[in-house]
Amino acid sequence: MRTDFSKPAPPSNDKRWKMIDAAMRRYGHKPHALIETLHTVQSVFGYLDDDAFRYVAASLRVPLSKVYGVATFYHFFRLKPKGEHTCVVCTGTACYIKGANQIMKALEDELGLRAGETTPDNKVSLMTARCVGACGLAPVVVMDEEVVGQMTPDKVLERVQAWRES
């Protein structure tokens, strides 16, 4: 059991931990800053791992199981690194009505992946989003942060192919 409540040392010498520190400091290292801090960790490192959990838990004095419970409750948080490219299929109602399922199926078949997985060569991660709010352009796929509207299975496969060959 941990009895030492002095400031914990970051998991590594990586300079980026300073950004995490700054985020936690902004909230006075209060336990309620947990979600904000996890957001910062994910935006800095791309995902959340055990080292980060331990460091955040110790800094904010939140139990480990609680940190893990929070991180897995919210689907925005990733516990594994993303591939080089990400393909996020919107599964909102408008996109569903306009055929998001077919797009998803085409991608799953082509990449041999299920949502949330990454190709073995670490090139492409396939994900889904609840609704990116661009329903007017449905069906929508977010390709590496770029929102692409009026998508079709053929168009999406073409772009994914280009990634894989690059």
């Binding site: 059991m1 941990r2 139990p63 199981s65 609680k66 419970g69 897995t72």
Partner: protein, 239 residues
């Protein structure tokens, strides 16, 4: 405030009863030997109103309320039994049985399980919703205790006792919805938990055979009650 103004009168199942202001329906009912089924509730732990078995009807309200968490008020008319409540309670139990793998006949807690007893008390003799048969782990890494997720009903008593009484907060829930699962620390094997004090409180508040002492075989696991005394002590202090 005069002492008398803190006393309220109400009826439960038509029986007039008196209670202190701020008390829950469940507490008053139990004082008067009126049975309301519960599963997630445990005296001495904070109430969560999660299992929904203790739902009761209140005259004048179309919504069912959880007895474990709803405070009484003057003139309240509570019904703890009705055809509808009976149906709902049985369905909720049926859903719990269908959710994981409760194989009572080979469970360590057979004969000492609150879920099993509730099914018998409420007359649930078969589960009419399809069983889901999920694949669940057994964690036997702890030297004294075992956790079998097949038997877990996610009542969170272990989480609460560990946080509120032991102060270790080893347990919590990960994931959500049907994927929710109790975890120790960073979802690591219980035996490797850094925060667990091996006090065993979680094992003894677990209503089913999800947490048990290592070495116990079918029907051998009996649970000790220790929290009622604690809540008595606290209750006296509060008065």
């Amino acid at each position: 405030m005069t002492p008398s103004s803190r006393v309220k009168t109400l009826t439960i199942d038509g029986r007039p009863v008196s209670a202190r202001s701020g008390e829950t329906i469940l507490k008053v009912a139990r004082e008067n030997n009126i049975f309301i089924p519960t599963l997630c509730h445990m005296d001495g732990l904070s109430p969560v109103g999660a299992c929904r078995l203790c739902l009761v009807e209140i005259k004048g309200s179309s919504k069912l309320v959880p007895a474990c968490i709803t405070s009484i008020f003057e003139g309240m008319e509570v019904s703890t039994k009705s055809e509808q409540l009976d149906k709902y309670r049985k369905m909720i139990l049926a859903l719990l049985f269908s959710e994981r793998n409760h194989v009572c006949s080979v469970c360590v807690s057979n004969g000492h399980c609150e879920l099993q007893t509730l099914a018998q008390t409420l007359g649930l003799e078969h589960v009419h919703v399809p069983y889901l048969y999920p694949v669940m782990d057994v964690d036997a890494s702890h030297e004294r205790f075992v956790s079998d997720h097949s038997r877990c009903v996610l009542c969170t008593r272990c989480v609460r006792v560990c946080e509120e009484i032991e102060g270790a907060h080893t347990w919590d829930i990960m994931g959500r919805g049907a994927e929710a699962k109790i975890i120790s620390d960073l979802n690591q094997p219980w035996g490797f938990s850094e925060s667990c004090t091996s006090c065993g409180k979680c094992v003894h508040v677990c209503p089913t055979g999800a947490l048990f002492e290592a070495g116990k075989s079918t029907a051998e696991m009996t649970k000790r009650q220790f929290l009622p005394y604690l809540s008595l002590m606290r209750g006296e202090k509060n008065d």
